[in-house]
């Protein structure tokens, strides 16, 4: 379908679970996957008389995020109550921030397909509590309510309506996801709902200034679904308008099985949330000193790290981007460079090509790699000091992956030490020459291409252990007529 006459306007609201040990307002655990309601204490359950007290770490994490997106961190922010009745909301209200959020006016730069940079505004980010979960199908005519998730701290990150396509939306989300994981404030696990997205989508005729009526598609929990949900909404809205209809402002739900969105019946009634400041909580004050203290604990952010990798290690931008994709990977790489004393680019090649390739095959994260950074560094060091050749190193790496020990142990056990003793190499060369008089004659009569043949034969004679530089040099000398 062609959307040439239409402009798409997208704003995203991301709910990011903060990686605290306990709930935002009580000391119940937040671990994922516990038996139903075993992490629901009286505060979580909304029992009478119990009171909320704010989690120190949740606040620190929210401030960290604000600093990372270059936003204003409010010196004074206020928790409000948002009222609605729903079984997964135990108190009949959600504690959230409304008029005075902790973070406002930030931005995130994304890279578009053509390589240009686009700045997406972040209107605000506020702290709030997550709701529980309903289990629908197990009981006839009834739903079961599990409140373990209720009260888990969330940071809701609201973008400006600056996004103009599903591709930009995905790019923004990926960047945001990388950032919160980098900051250590969210585990980023989208299947478990740690990072989920509401998509506000509208369309307007190109050139029109006013926004069209938007719909909000709730809780889309993968990058691919976000793309699909947005694409579906764009198509649906254009179809409705082109057929003479009107878009209804509503909440919709994405069905991953069909790739479609549908109106949510439960949200049919216009809500009147009756926000007011929560009288059980006092204004949250973050002083300039607090901000400075938190700023000092900020990790290096992805962009800064990438630029440093280019500058400090002389890496191509592509390599630097891959290596800084995850903080753990970047740390791994830097450990390899430092410990091995090897060439930075060689280290990058090993990490990007060999290590990531292997992990990908194994379906493992960098943190679960069977080859640790010191192990890979050990291997690179043996290449650098010419103990083994690059080619042999590949075999050593495979052996390390298989759990056969570190590089030195494998080299020793398998007798892979490179032959640098020139007399041994010369002997191998002489044997090859003696066995192949025809080729020798052809080479000497000018068929230079046969040089490779002799290298191969000589290497084979040394089980690949001959130092390649020495072999080349000596072979040239010996073959010379």
């Amino acid at each position: 379908m062609s959307y040439d006459n239409w402009e798409v306007v997208i704003g995203l609201e991301v709910h990011c679970q903060l990686q605290t040990k306990t709930k935002i307002f009580s000391g119940a655990a937040t671990a994922y996957g516990a038996a139903p309601n075993t992490q629901a204490d009286p505060v979580t359950l909304g029992f009478p008389g119990v009171l909320p007290v704010l989690n120190h770490d949740a606040l620190q994490m929210a401030v960290k995020f604000g600093l990372a997106v270059d936003a204003t961190v409010a010196e004074r922010s206020v928790f409000a109550r948002k009222h609605y009745f729903y079984p997964d909301l135990p108190k009949g209200y959600q504690i959230s921030q409304y008029e005075l959020p902790i973070v406002a006016c930030g931005h995130l730069d994304i890279e578009l397909a053509d390589g240009s940079i686009k700045r997406i505004g972040i209107t605000r980010a506020h702290m709030e509590e997550d709701a529980g979960k309903s289990v629908h199908d197990a009981y006839a005519g009834q739903s079961g309510i599990d409140l373990n998730r209720a009260g888990t701290p969330l940071l809701e990150i609201v973008s400006e309506p600056d996004i103009r396509s599903s591709a930009e939306a995905v790019s923004y989300l990926k960047k945001l996801h990388q950032l919160v994981v980098y900051l250590g404030i969210c585990d980023g696990n989208m299947q478990e709902g740690s990072f989920r997205c509401d998509c506000n989508v509208s369309v307007r005729p190109r050139g029109q200034k006013e926004f069209g009526t938007r719909t909000e598609t709730k809780n889309v929990n993968s990058f691919r679904y976000v793309e699909k949900a947005i694409e579906y909404e764009i198509g649906r809205q254009i179809d409705v308008i082109e057929a003479g209809g009107k878009i209804v402002q509503e909440t919709r739900l994405f069905n991953p099985d069909t790739g479609e969105t549908r109106s949510m019946r439960s949200k049919e009634n216009a809500n009147d949330y009756r926000y007011f400041p929560d009288p059980d909580l006092l204004p949250v004050v973050v002083s300039a000193d607090d901000v400075a203290r938190i700023r000092a604990t900020m990790p290096e952010l992805p962009e800064a790290k990438r630029n440093r990798f280019v500058e400090q290690y002389g890496l191509p931008k592509y390599d630097a981007t891959v290596l800084t994709g995850e903080a753990a990977l970047a740390d791994y790489y830097e450990a390899v460079v430092k410990t091995s004393g090897g060439d930075a680019k060689t280290c990058a090649n090993w990490v990007i090509t060999d290590l990531l390739g292997a992990l990908n095959k194994l379906g493992k994260e960098i943190g679960e790699s069977p080859v640790s950074a010191p192990m890979l560094a050990g291997l690179v060091a043996r290449i650098a000091d010419k103990t083994i050749s690059g080619k042999i190193a590949k075999d050593v790496f495979e052996a390390m992956l298989a759990g056969e020990g570190d590089a030195d142990a494998i080299i020793k056990a398998k007798g892979l030490v490179q032959i640098t003793d020139e007399s041994a190499i010369i002997k191998a060369i002489e044997d090859v020459m003696a066995k192949n008089p025809g080729q020798l004659a052809e080479y000497r009569s000018g068929k230079d291409k046969l040089f490779g043949f002799f290298v191969g034969q000589a290497m084979k004679a040394t089980q690949g252990k001959a130092n390649p530089d020495a072999l080349n040099r000596l072979l040239k000398k010996k073959l010379a007529p």
Binding site: P42, L45, G46, F47, P48, G49, V50, L51, P52, V53, L54, R81, H83, F85, P87, P90, K91, G92, Y93, G141, I145, D272, R274, Y275, F276, P279, D280, L281, L282
Partner: protein, 485 residues
């Protein structure tokens, strides 16, 4: 035994003149004998009380325990008590047995060693000024059982006034300690907001609710309030500052005390008989060396309207959790979720509670928030500023607690507005968060009249000192209702 002061009871227990078990049994017997007339207890916890009394006796025998150890008390049924029904006088919580203790329950029972006689009646969710909104029926005033004891802490005052508990806890959102204390000849104090933990106290209006005590003298009240007060990490609004000694300064002279008489509290609407009692008290305090000046709290006439926006708004929100899902009343035979909510809540809450939930819902709803809620919060600041200004000139503010003596049961139940105007003198202290108390200062037609003292933030000790000095030279607080000897 039931005529002894807290101090005397403590001394007698420590001297082993009688045991805590004997004392507790004495009160349990009195409850059995007299409470059918008053309906002051919702739940009597005889077995638990005796077990606690035995534990207190063991502590006392070891020479341990403090000044309150072994002295029984009644708990307003708004405080959560593990293993005992905590109803808040509502059908909604008729079957609610709390899995946890309120902080003040821990402090008074587990730490101070006071056995709990039972849970005291009150207006449903503390919403009322006459104790007629209780699901368990109205409480009667021991001074005249055809009259109300005041509310919402009606059970607390009726029990203490009739000698069915030496002392009782209470809560005050707009006057719920002071007005009933005034109507039953008791001394009741609402401390500074945040002084006593709200953890485990079922919320009515969170920014106004404050727990306190009703007792037969300022000295009794001081000792119990001392044990209840203090910082609680479980309550974000708890004051994180040391609690003054409330008992030691009771004996101080009040020579030179500067007392402010707010002209708005002596204007039209105050009964002449009540006024005469207040004037008598002023004369007594002058003899003790206090000086009086007229002051003005110009915004005080707006305190009732302000309160009836702020309190219902917070209440409508606080009571949203009662939905029949995790605890509390659940309507039977419901098959749709919306019906579960609306029927459980309609059945579980009485009319006054529903009225206030509706007012609160309305004033917070879209389009009305600014005109009602936000405006009320601004006027609240004006009321607060009035007090700040006056406390630059005076040490305490004195006035009536209620416009009149106890009224007849049923006389105001159909007219919420006239009921609400009962709290005209007490509400401002809650809006400002300052400490305030009521103490007996005479009788009109045989019914008690209360005198109100309001102090600056954290000045509980000063209020109790003034009250105690007054009680050293007057005998009003020693009068007891007839028929409960």
């Amino acid at each position: 035994m039931h005529t002894l002061s807290i101090k005397q009871l403590g001394e007698a227990l420590r001297a082993r003149k009688f045991s805590s078990r004997e004392l507790t049994q004495h009160y349990l017997k009195r409850i059995e004998a007299f409470d059918p007339q008053l309906n002051s207890y919702i739940t009597v916890t005889a077995d638990l009380a005796l077990a606690a009394a035995d534990a207190a006796d063991a502590r006392l025998a070891r020479g341990e325990g403090g000044p309150l150890t072994g002295i029984p008390l009644g708990q307003k049924d708004i405080f959560c008590t593990t293993g005992v029904r905590t109803s808040c006088a509502s059908r909604m919580l008729d079957k609610f047995v709390s899995p946890y203790d309120a902080t003040i329950v821990k402090k008074l029972q587990a730490e101070a060693g006071m056995p709990m006689l039972g849970k005291l009646n009150m207006d449903e969710f503390a919403m009322g000024s006459s104790n007629e909104t209780s699901w368990y029926g109205p409480v009667k005033n021991p001074w005249d059982v055809t009259r109300v004891p005041g509310g919402s802490s009606g059970g607390s005052v009726a029990a203490v006034a009739a000698g069915l508990a030496p002392v009782a806890t209470a809560t005050d959102t707009g006057g719920s300690i002071r007005q009933p204390a005034a109507l039953t000849n008791l001394t009741g104090i609402k401390p500074t907001y945040g002084r006593v933990s709200r953890f485990g106290m079922i919320a009515f209006a969170s920014s106004l609710d404050q727990a306190g005590v009703v007792a037969r003298s300022a000295e009794d009240a001081a000792q119990v309030l001392q044990a209840m007060s203090g910082f609680d990490p479980l309550d974000s609004t708890s004051l994180d500052r040391p609690v003054d000694d409330l008992v030691a300064p009771l004996g101080r002279s009040i020579q030179g005390l500067r007392v402010g008489l707010p002209k708005e509290y002596f204007a039209e609407g105050l009964d002449a008989g009540v006024r005469a009692c207040i004037d008598g008290a002023i004369a007594e305090l002058k003899k003790l060396g206090a000086t009086f000046t007229e002051v003005s709290l110009p915004n005080s006439p707006l305190s009732v309207p302000t309160y009836y926006v702020v309190a219902p708004a917070e209440a409508s929100s606080n009571l949203a959790r009662f939905d029949g899902v995790r605890y509390g009343h659940r309507a039977e035979g419901v098959t749709a979720l919306e019906d579960l909510y609306s029927r459980s809540r309609a059945e579980g809450f009485g009319p006054e509670v529903q009225r206030r939930i509706m007012i609160g819902t309305y004033v917070l709803s879209h389009g009305y928030y600014d005109a009602y809620y936000l405006q009320a919060q601004k006027v609240r600041r004006l009321i607060y500023d009035d007090f700040r200004r006056v406390f630059e000139q005076v040490d305490v503010i004195l006035g009536p607690t209620a416009t009149d003596v106890a009224f007849k049961l049923g006389s105001k139940t159909d007219d919420p507005v006239s009921m609400y105007l009962n709290d005209i003198y007490t509400i401002a202290a809650n809006l400002a968060g300052i400490p305030a108390m009521s103490l007996p200062c005479g009788f009109k037609d045989g019914l008690p009249v209360g005198l109100q003292l309001m102090g600056n933030f954290f000045d509980e000790a000063k209020l109790l000192n003034v009250a105690h000095q007054y009680q050293q030279v007057t005998g009003w607080h020693q009068q007891s209702p007839k028929g409960f000897e």
